[in-house]
Symmetry: C3
Subunit: 371 residues, 3 copies
C-alpha cells in the first residue's frame, strides 16, 4: 500500500511543505522511521531535531513556522522553509502542517492498518441457544457458545471461544475478542471492544457469617453488569455483577489489562483506568477520572469528576472532584511528592534528631554543672 503526501494531506486537512508527489509506504515512530515512512513531531523535543529522523515526511503543528522555540534554535533556517506561500523548500524531510499532529498521525496509521474485516458468517462449530435475535452482518467465530435469549446488534463480531450467557444483550459494532466470558444478563452497548481473557459478570465476593460455626455463607448475586457505548475493556479483566442492581461502566470509559472491578461499582463517562487497578465493592468513580496503574480504591468510596489517582496509590477515603491523590496512604499529590522526597532522607533525619537530643542534653548538663 502506498499513498502520496498530497493524498495524505487531503485526508487530514493538512498542508504539504515539500514534494507533494512523494509516495509513503508506512508509518513509524520518530527514530525508527525509514525514508518510505511518515512520522510526526508534536512538541519541541522532536521539532528541534527534525534532521534526526530518517522518515520521508513528518507531520508538524499548523503553527510550526512561527514557533519561537524552534526558530531560536536555527532549525528553520536549516530547513529553509520560507513560509507557506512558496511551498518550496530545501528540506531533507517533507512536512505536513496540520492541527493536532499526533491525532492526525494515528488517523494515517489507521489508513495503512485498516481493521481486518471479519468473515460475516456464523461458524458451524459454534452453539447458539433458543430465541437468539441478531442484527445484520454479524460474525461468530468457532467454538463460541451463546445461551438462550441473547440479542446482538448489527455488525457484532464474536470471536473464538467466547461464552455468552442467558439473556445477554449487545449493541451494534461491538467486538468480543477470543476467549472472553460474558455471564448471564450482562448488557453491553454499541462500539464496545472487550479484549481476550476478560470475565464480565462473575459473582461478587460477598459472604455472610454462619452464626453457629462462623463459617462464610455465599451471598447470591442477583444483579448484572452494564457496559455503555464506546467502552473499551482490556485483557484479563474481572468485572463482577452487582449483588442486586448493576455494576456500571459508563459511556466512553477505557480500561487497561488485569483490572478488578467489584460488585456494584460505577465508573463515570470517559474515565481511564490503567492496568492492575482494583476498585472494591460499591465505590463510585466520577466522569473523566484517571486512575493510574496498580492503584487501589477501597469499597463504598466516591472519587469525584475529573479527579486523578496516582500510580500505586492506596485510596482509603473519598476524593473530591478535580483532586489529585497519590501515595500510600493516598494524600494530595503535591504533598506526596514532598513526602516521597523526604522518605529516603529518614535515616539522615533520625541522625539529626539524635544529635539534637545529645546537644540539648549536653547544654543542660553544662548549664547544671555551672549551677
Amino acid at each position: 500500500m502506498k499513498i502520496t503526501l498530497k493524498e495524505i494531506a487531503l485526508k487530514i486537512d493538512g498542508e504539504v511543505i515539500g514534494d507533494e508527489t512523494l509516495e509513503i509506504y508506512g508509518v513509524s515512530s520518530f527514530y525508527d522511521a525509514q525514508p518510505s515512512d511518515i512520522t510526526f513531531a508534536s512538541d519541541a523535543k522532536f521539532l528541534k531535531v527534525l534532521d534526526q529522523t530518517r522518515a520521508g515526511a513528518v507531520i508538524v503543528p499548523e503553527n510550526f513556522i512561527s514557533d519561537d522555540r524552534v526558530s531560536e534554535n536555527g532549525v528553520l533556517s536549516e530547513y529553509n522553509v520560507s513560509g507557506s506561500a512558496s511551498k518550496s523548500c530545501a528540506c531533507k524531510v517533507a512536512l505536513i502542517k496540520a492541527k493536532n499532529p499526533k491525532r492526525k498521525f494515528f488517523r494515517i496509521l489507521s489508513l495503512f492498518h485498516p481493521p481486518k474485516q471479519p468473515i460475516k458468517i456464523i461458524d458451524k462449530r459454534s452453539v447458539i441457544g433458543k430465541s437468539f435475535i441478531n442484527g445484520d452482518d454479524i460474525s461468530i467465530g468457532s467454538h463460541v457458545t451463546i445461551e438462550n435469549n441473547v440479542t446482538i446488534g448489527n455488525r457484532v463480531q464474536i470471536m473464538h471461544g467466547v461464552y455468552i450467557g442467558d439473556g445477554v444483550t449487545i449493541g451494534d459494532d461491538t467486538i468480543i475478542k477470543p476467549n472472553v466470558t460474558i455471564l448471564e444478563h450482562t448488557k453491553i452497548g454499541s462500539r464496545v471492544i472487550i479484549h481476550s481473557g476478560t470475565v464480565i459478570g462473575s459473582d461478587g465476593f460477598g459472604f455472610t457469617q454462619d452464626t453457629v460455626e462462623g463459617n462464610n455463607e455465599k451471598i447470591p448475586h442477583a444483579g448484572f453488569v452494564q457496559i455503555d457505548d464506546d467502552v473499551e475493556i482490556g485483557a484479563c479483566n474481572t468485572i463482577d455483577r452487582g449483588t442486586f442492581g448493576r455494576t456500571w461502566i459508563q459511556k466512553g470509559v477505557k480500561i487497561d489489562n488485569l483490572v478488578h472491578i467489584a460488585h456494584n461499582v460505577r465508573i463515570g463517562e470517559h474515565s481511564l483506568i490503567v492496568a492492575q487497578v482494583g476498585i472494591a465493592g460499591s465505590s463510585v468513580i466520577g466522569k473523566r477520572v484517571i486512575i493510574a496503574g496498580k492503584a487501589g480504591v477501597s469499597g463504598h468510596l466516591t472519587v469525584g469528576d475529573g479527579a486523578i489517582v496516582g500510580p500505586g496509590a492506596g485510596v482509603l477515603s473519598d476524593v473530591k472532584p478535580g483532586d489529585i491523590v497519590s501515595g500510600i496512604p493516598g494524600m494530595p499529590h503535591k504533598l506526596w511528592l514532598k513526602v516521597a522526597s523526604i522518605l529516603p532522607k529518614l535515616p539522615e533525619i533520625r541522625k539529626k534528631i539524635i544529635a539534637l537530643e545529645r546537644s540539648l542534653a549536653l547544654q543542660n548538663l553544662s548549664k547544671n554543672s555551672k549551677i
Copy 2:
C-alpha cells in the same frame, strides 16, 4: 414470581408487623427498592431512616422495638408500632422481625433468584477421554475437553470451554464456570465453585541456574493442587501446582479475583483472600485468616490462625495468630495507623527539625558570645 409477607416470614422464622397479605415481587437494596420489593435494615444507620426506603417491606432485627437508639430518635412513634402483641400498625412500610436480618435477606434473595438448573446432558461438542468415571445428573457444556482418567461426582456442572487434565478428581455438586483451566492431577472437593478464566495447576515459577552460562533451567513441577470442600475461587486466579507435594486450599476458603497463589502454598480452613493478593511459594496461611485486597505475602512465611493482613500490606515476616498487620513494610495495624497519619506530616516534621537545629545553633552562638 410473587410471595406474600406471611410466606416470607415463615421461611425465615420471622414475625410480620403490618399487612401479612402484601405480595412481594423482588428484593433490592435499601435506597433502590421499589414498593413491590423487600429490603433489610440491620443497624442504626438504616433503622433510623426507615421512612426513606420505598420498599414494601423491611426485615429488621428481632429486638427492633426495644432499640434505644431508634426510640430516642422518635422513629418508633412515627411508625406507630405498638408492640408485637397487637401486630397492627400505621407503618408506611411493613416490617418482618427476624434474627440476623442481613443473612435472612440473602436467603430471600436466593428464593427470588434460584441458581439456574443446568441441562443435565453431556454436550456432543465436548471431548471426553478414556476411563472417565462420573456420578449422576452431571452437566457438561459445549467445547469442553476432559482428558483421560478423570473422575467427577454427582450433579457436577462443567461449563463451556473448560479444560480438565489427566487424572483430575472432582467431588459432588461442584461448579466449574466457563473457560476455566484445570491441569493434570488436580484434586477438587465437593460444593466447590471455580469462576471463569481461572487456571489451577500451572507450573510454579522455579528455576535453577546453569553453572556454565548462568542461564535459568526449568525445575519440573511434579506436585499438584488440592482444593477441599466448600471452597469458592474467583475469576482469573492462578494457583500453581506444588514442585512436589501439593498446593493446598483447605475447606471453606473463599478467594476473590486475580489472586496469585504460588507452588506449595497452604491456605487454612475458612480463610478469606481478597482480590489481587499474591502469596509467594511455600507460605502457610492459617485458619480463618483474612488477607485484604492487593496485599502480598513473601515466600516461606507463616501467617497464624485468625490473623488479618490489611489492604496493600507487604508481609515480609511471619505473622502471629490473631495479629493484625498493615502497611509497607508490614507492621502491627495500630502502629501503621499512626505511621500513616504521620507520613503526610513529614514535610512539616522536617521543617521543625531544621528550626530546632537553627534554634539550638543560635543558643550556642549566643552562649558562646557571652563567654
Copy 3:
C-alpha cells in the same frame, strides 16, 4: 517406576556412598521423603541433620566429606563415612555425592516425571485456516482455532481452546497450554512455554483526545509481539502488541503469573519477572534483570543489565546496571532497608521532636526569665 542408586548416580555423574542396589521409587522434599524416595541436601542447614530425613538416599555436594561445619558437629562420624575409596558405610541413609546437588536432584525429578508425550494428531474439532505451514510431529488439541497464514515448527504442541491469529509464527518444540490467546502477527521462538489463560498481542492502552469534546479516541495498534527462544510465560499474563514496532521478550526470559507487559516494552535476555509485576509502555528492561513480585515500572524507563527491583517497589526513574532498587518510591535497596526500619518508629520520632521543642522552649523561657 523404579531406578537403582547406581543408575541414578550414572545419570548425574555422581558417586554412591552406600548400597548401590537400593531401588528408588520417587523424589520428594527433605522432610516429606519416604524410605523409597531420594532427596537432596545442598547446604549446611540440611547437611547437619541428615538423620532427620526418612529418605532412602540423599544427594550431597561432591566435597561433603571435607565440610568442616559438618564434621565439627560429629555428623560424619555418626554416618561412618570412611572416604570415597572404601564406598562402605553404616549410613542409615545412602548418599550420592555430586556437583550442584539441587540441580542434579531436579534432573532426577524429571526422570521420574517425564513430560507427558502429546498425541501427535490434529484434533478434528479444531479449525485450521488457509496457508497453514507445519513441521513434523505436531499436536493440536480439541477446540483450537488457527487463523490463516500461520507457520509452526516441529513438535509444537497446541492444547485445548487456544486461539492463534493471522500470520502467527511459532518455532520448534514450543508448548502452548490450554485456553491461551495469541493474536495476529505474534512471532514466537523455539522451546517457548506459554501457560494457560495468557493473552499475547492485545492492543496497547493508547488514546488521543478528541479536540472538540475531549473524549478518548483509540490509537490503532499496528505493531506485534516477539517472543524469542527459551522464554517461559506464566498463567494469565497480558502482553500488549506494539503501537508500531514490537513488544519484545528476549531469549531465556522467564515470567511468572498475572504479569502485565505494556506496548513496546523490551525485556532483555535471561531476565526474571515475578508474579503480578506491571511494566508500563516503552520501558526497556536489560539482561539478567530480576523484578520481584508486585513491583511496578513506569513507562519510558530503562532498567540496566543485572539490576534487581525489590518486591512491591515502585520504579519511577531509570535504574542503573547492577543497581538494586526497593521501596515506594523506588530507592537504593540498602537505603530502603534503613527507611523501612525507621517507618515503624515515626510515632516515637514525632514524640521526640515534640519533646525537643518543649525542652528548647523551656530553656529559652528560663533563660529569658533570668534576664
